[in-house]
Symmetry: C2
Subunit: 568 residues, 2 copies
């Protein structure tokens, strides 16, 4: 029998939100008793850990996040996340589902990890409709029904399409929500509803989808919580006014902290603990921040067996030598030490099916494929172009005259980059183009198959050689993110599994992504506070502004195709 005593730690008590000097007895993976002091002679079979001076906190629980945002596998995610004390996550695998459909979700779920990874059902795959983007997989009612029978699935992942959800018509998302309610009446239904309020918000919540993790304002926090919504507050949502409204109104029970997306290079530095510390830096008490990273997320997900250091709960916890700086001494999962400065328990690495490594079904790109033909006798043509915003993923539509030569648009030296999207699932060989202003300001190209949410092959550059070099490099690698300058690959992160994740150790992947980020910024002069995310969301048609899929430029708000030639 596996018995431990964590002796005389500063133990977080969830119910009074205080740290108290206590000793904690653990047996077979569960907390058994918390006491002022034990007579250690009574526990001669137990391993005694002297925790004097250490802080003992429940393992962190991150209930809104995407493993694919870290471009990694569940196994590597577990390995890295445990270092910071995250012991449970609820992942929405909608990226791998866009690539491989339910097969992708199954492969993720079949990864045995030390961290407990639960799953949400991706509710929007594809993000819009098959007419507007080609994806590798689709999640329809049959897939949802199968997933509802899986115990590892504990919620419906973020429902994005407000209009379809509250429509009077019979829509797919309404059918999916009904299916969930019918099969699992009390399962949480997670939402994504920025910028809606009043009757629209009430209708959204009344549908049963009653959580949101998007950007908030003090007003939206108040309105959403007081109408029964549970808020999952991610790092970017932590601004002083928002923290103030949460604390002033004592909304303690009705929100949690979450990460949503943690890029590989940022993942080297932390995970949910970073969001927690940011909240504290903005005025949340450390006790409330821990509560919101352990107890309330567990309650939301009906994981009643964890998030607390109390008898009968799963013994997931972190010992910290500094609370303010979150200095992790060791991490325990199911009552077993799985990480310390000198030790990390080995994860079982999963081999994915062979086809997962051969998912970019494209021949090499050549110059002819990049010709932007236009049917005109004029020497100029008015073109719709995409303007990139330097601090958000929103874009603008602009118009611009471009010269025409031999039936081709002569876009070079016009102050724009050419962006192309190549359908890569072998379904239709679509190629679509857009001209982009405001992103790349130097000469070169960037290419990626990690392109939300359809993950077709995206490339953007100022000259054909670099465009071809970058795109073909990604095809060679069968996935990744790279920068080419002067026909030379300056930085590259290979993502060979489904073209979106890598099984490389996180140190290696994080370093690669850091280099890509640097190359985008320095070599391409890409003007954005998160260049990698900016480019990777120029492909996302569910975004309200204009984006590019293999079907062309799509205006997310109206779901209209914007023609390349203005006025067509």
């Amino acid at each position: 029998m596996n018995k431990w005593i964590i002796n005389q730690a500063n133990v977080f008590n969830t119910y009074n939100k205080r740290f108290e000097k206590k000793s904690v007895y653990i047996e077979n993976g569960y907390f058994k008793q918390i006491s002022d002091n034990f007579d250690l002679l009574d526990f001669h079979n137990a391993k005694i850990i002297d925790a004097d001076g250490l802080w003992m906190v429940p393992g962190l629980v991150d209930i809104h996040m995407h493993i694919e945002s870290s471009m990694t596998t569940p196994t590597r995610f577990s390995e890295q996340g445990l270092k910071f004390g995250t012991t449970t996550v609820v992942a929405d695998p909608h990226e791998i589902a866009n690539v491989f459909g339910k097969k992708g979700i199954d492969a993720f779920m079949d990864s045995e990890t030390i961290m407990d990874i639960y799953y949400g059902i991706p509710s929007s795959v594809p993000s819009t409709i098959p007419e507007l983007e080609t994806t590798g997989g689709i999640i329809g009612e049959n897939e949802v029904l199968e997933l509802l029978h899986d115990k590892r699935v504990i919620c419906l992942g973020e429902v994005m399409n407000f209009k379809d959800l509250v429509s009077q018509e019979d829509t797919l998302i309404k059918r999916i929500v009904s299916l969930c309610k019918q099969q699992r009446p009390s399962m949480p239904l997670e939402g994504h509803c920025p910028k809606i309020s009043g009757a629209d918000l009430a209708a959204f919540i009344a549908s049963g989808v009653n959580a949101d993790h998007t950007m908030q304002s003090p007003e939206s926090i108040k309105e959403k919580i007081e109408n029964g919504m549970f808020l999952e507050i991610q790092g970017k949502c932590l601004i002083p006014e928002n923290v103030k409204v949460l604390t002033d109104n004592k909304y303690d029970e009705y929100y949690c902290l979450c990460t949503d997306d943690t890029m590989p290079d940022h993942f080297l530095e932390g995970q949910l603990n970073k969001v927690l510390l940011k909240a504290v830096s903005l005025g949340l008490s450390i006790e409330q921040a821990i509560y919101a990273s352990t107890y309330t997320p567990s309650m939301r997900m009906q994981l009643f067996d964890r998030g607390v250091i109390a008898p009968g709960k799963i013994a997931d916890f972190v010992l910290l030598s500094s609370l303010d700086e979150w200095k992790v001494e060791s991490v325990y999962k199911n009552g077993e030490e799985v990480y310390s400065s000198s030790y990390q328990k080995k994860e079982k690495m999963l081999e994915y099916p062979q086809e997962f490594y051969k998912s970019i079904l494209l021949d090499k790109i050549n110059k002819e494929m990049l010709e932007v033909r236009v049917d005109t006798d004029e020497s100029e043509v008015l073109v719709n172009i995409i303007e990139v915003n330097s601090s958000s993923t929103f874009t603008n539509i602009a118009k611009m005259k471009m010269p025409v030569k031999d039936g081709l648009i002569d876009w070079k030296n016009q102050g724009v980059a050419l962006m192309a999207c190549f359908e890569r699932y072998g379904k239709n060989n679509n190629i679509a183009f857009a001209f982009v202003k405001g992103a790349i300001t130097k000469d070169g190209a960037v290419s990626s198959s990690w392109a939300h949410d359809h993950h077709n092959l995206m490339v953007m550059g100022t000259n054909e050689d670099d465009i071809i070099n970058a795109a073909n490099h990604i095809i060679d690698l069968q996935g990744g993110y790279c920068v080419s300058v002067n026909n030379e690959i300056r930085a590259c992160a290979p993502l060979p599994i489904g073209g979106i994740v890598s099984h490389a150790p996180m140190e290696e992947l994080g370093k690669d992504i850091k280099e890509v980020r640097k190359a985008m910024s320095e070599d391409l002069g890409y003007i954005h506070n998160n260049a990698i995310m900016s480019f990777a969301t120029l492909s996302l048609p569910v975004s309200p502004t204009v984006k590019l899929t293999d079907k062309g430029m799509i205006i997310g708000k109206t779901l209209e195709v914007l023609p390349l030639i203005a006025g067509e």
Copy 2:
């Protein structure tokens, strides 16, 4: 489509714990939108209720209670409870289970009621073991398994036997708890654990049984909550020190209010609302008292669809003209008015199986059956007697010499009453005796088949004529509670269904019980602050002190039989 607007009420917002002037739109039984004001012209199909000056509160949710404590059927319970605004209860039907086993539970569950009545699985039927008391039914593993497949069952009812629960041995209650965890991993397991603390309490909680509704002290409240227990605070537990510890420590989320037992005469005056008002009179804010009678009990029972006035929740609510005095104007269930001063929606009355009305399987009692034989040649014998405590259900054991005449104990004129327990399920015709001091002080007898938990026929009196008259009257009625003085029935409440509940209107039953209470006090001189409960628990062997079953006197704490003749 059924549409209502409750216009301009003082609406309780659960999330900020404030009343706010709002209008509430209801559609098809659910709250749809809460707004400062609606343009009523937009809602020409809706029925508009002018609620200006009224208080709007979610329907009360009572999660620890026994319908049989009100000696009534689910249907009548619903009818009466709705008048006070209770719209949901979770009933532990362990009394009807003691009489009829699972068949009794099924009959209760099959009653269609306007109030939502959910059920717990009675975990201790019989309360001790079949060797110490004969019951009509037994709830074993098979019955538990069947009940776990029923959607109306939402928790395991109060687990009482601490020793068996934490035993190293294989015990029935451990097997039942395992079965629950295996079949329904997150189902709440309810407990009954007075006066345990430290390692014992930790072991109790660690078993997964993590709620308690018994009497508390400020210390036990603190220890139990801070070890992860959810407390269900019943009326008698509301004392100033307890309310203070709940409020001072901001334990808002970790307890609720409940009734446990509401006697028929008390039920005429109120239900959970009375507990709520008592809490307020002792210092709880009205907002917190409502929170603890609506939201926290719903959360505990994972009834996420209610307890709150917010979009998407079931429209169960009360309109009050006075909050402080809980003056009910009207009550709505599923968005429909079901009670007001001038209207009450009719309940569907259920006919129970014929056998439910023929459950006292006893021939008439006669004088010979009351002879207390003793095998001695002495003229005196030392007897163990039960001393009744005037303010609790605990008893004491005393010893007393009694004369012996013709082999019979001559107990009359010795300052004691004779108490007899007749096995009434036709299983073994057991008769057991005890002598009782401190209860009846005048001449006469009381008899009842409502006798916790085995519900055999109990009778106690000072002379044989009244004992026989009272007991035979209950046999004639096939159940009830009555008082006989001078061979005449002074007061009687018939309980013909299983001998423990009545289908009579609550006014009638409440009046009958009030008369029995009065007769016990005035005619029998029964010294107790709740004489009806006192006598009805003199049969309860699970109580730690000495009680009488058909098997004899039982000491609950040690589960030993106490012989009538001392030293035997």
